[in-house]
């Protein structure tokens, strides 16, 4: 991964074994300021586990995780297991994290396009609304690095395109780096600078264009999926670097 300056976060030669089972082998990951890095891979590839290691929630069996001193991380978890008996509005959910600054809550919700659910109970939100609220929650602390675990989970295709566009826009406006996990091949390529393709070990990594031509990638996802994507990456070149228009283009492709 080419990147100038000190990386925000660096995982070096990390291994994780639980019992006799090896979950992650020899993982190297580096993310620089303002960069979007997406981890993709099949179910059970260890994507979320790798994210947990990067966040410091899980210690690797061997290897190191280095975070830039003073790095602020905004974390968006995959799900919220909130008991239905817990009376929590979206407003309060966010206010808890920013010292009851309600003006700030409204501005964050507007930024992610979820201002209309401010008074709703968190449990009543739709998939897309919840993802946006969780994203707003991740932005509360003005992070240098956003860590998103399956940010488009439980969202329909149109909503997924919108969410990836939103993530790109947040990166552009705030200049924060983004580390995210996805198992969606097609849409994610539009919104990322670097791809890390994981299946217990790193199969391949690099720019979306270079990864899709990698034999390891083809082996992992099958040639049909890759052909589909090759067309898509080609399409992306026509649109050049405008992420927003890429997202729209991909929606029209479908």
């Amino acid at each position: 991964m080419s990147n100038t300056g000190q990386p925000l976060l660096e995982v070096s030669t990390a291994n994780l074994t639980l019992g006799k089972q090896s979950l992650l082998e020899n993982i190297n990951l580096k993310i620089g300021a303002g960069e979007i890095l997406t981890i993709i891979g099949p179910n059970g590839a260890g994507k979320t586990t790798l994210l947990r290691i990067a966040l410091g929630l899980q210690k690797p069996t061997s290897g190191t995780v280095k975070r830039q001193p003073g790095l602020t991380i905004g974390y968006m978890p995959q799900r919220l297991h909130l008991d239905p008996t817990f009376p929590l509005t979206v407003k309060r959910f966010l206010a808890l994290a920013c010292k009851n600054d309600f003006a700030r809550v409204i501005s964050l919700l507007s930024e992610v396009g979820a201002a209309h659910v401010v008074d709703s109970a968190v449990q009543t939100l739709s998939g897309g609304e919840l993802q946006r609220v969780l994203l707003a929650r991740a932005l509360v602390r003005e992070p240098d690095l956003l860590v998103l675990d399956e940010p488009v989970q439980g969202v329909d295709v149109h909503g997924q395109v919108e969410l990836y566009k939103l993530i790109s826009r947040i990166r552009e406006q705030r200049g924060c780096a983004v580390l995210m996990v996805s198992h969606d091949l097609h849409l994610v390529m539009a919104a990322t600078d670097q791809v890390l393709c994981l299946n217990r070990h790193i199969c391949c990594s690099g720019t979306p264009e270079s990864v899709t031509n990698d034999p390891a990638f083809v082996e992992l996802f099958g040639s049909a999926a890759v052909q589909y994507m090759a067309i898509y990456v080609h399409d992306k070149n026509h649109h050049h670097d405008q992420c927003a228009s890429c997202g729209r283009g991909s929606a029209n492709d479908r």
Partner: protein, 269 residues
Amino acid sequence: MIDNFLLRALLGGLGVALVAGPFGSFVVWRRLAYFGDTLSHSALLGVALGFILHINLTVGIIVICQLLAILLFYSQRQRQLASDTMLGIFAHGALSLGLVALAFMEDVRIDLVAYLFGDILAISNSDLGWIFAGGGIALACLIRIWKPLLAITIHEDLARVEGIPVDQVNWMFLGLIALIVAVMMKVVGMLLVTALLIIPAATARRFAGNPEMMALLASLIGCLSVCAGLYGSFQWDTPTGPTIVVAACLIFIIGFLVPKGLFLKGQES
């Protein structure tokens, strides 16, 4: 000194209900009902310990509850057995071990029913002291960890990433639960402690728009249950602890008949 046993019973009951409200709310939110039950089942073991070591029986119960809380905390980290199986083993193991241990002490005769279902009318001034000192400390500590505990209840990993000392806060919370379970035992007995934690909280849910409101309402509903239970117990000469729980259940049912969201202005919930 309070001479009137009925007044002592009322004060003890109200004290316990006040403390049970906020703790019970967390027990409901975090699905710890069975955890509380398991702790209270170990009380007889605490009584036995008290007799063996010649210490205050309440201290014995508190010590055993704390030890069990520690044991449960660690046992839940293993993945071999589901946590409800684990809790069941501890609950019934501790209860039986307590009964067996007491049977070995030939010169000890305890009023088993009083421990099982509470004996609020026999509350002494020192019991009142335990309830108000123990309950007061527990409440003060809970208020101190209120915000981080809410954050952990919402999402533990998120709290951890943001630098909240999750393990310490969880430890403290479980320790406090063990403490209040031990002091609540006097009023409703070991078999009904969890009822006083969860029923008022569950009743309060329908009328609360935020966590603090629910905790406060749960306390008030608990107090109402204690008053109604004491009155009913006197009126019909029924056992007091169970009558309080029956009153709490009735209030819960009445709560369900009140239209939902009556007190929630413009809030979906």
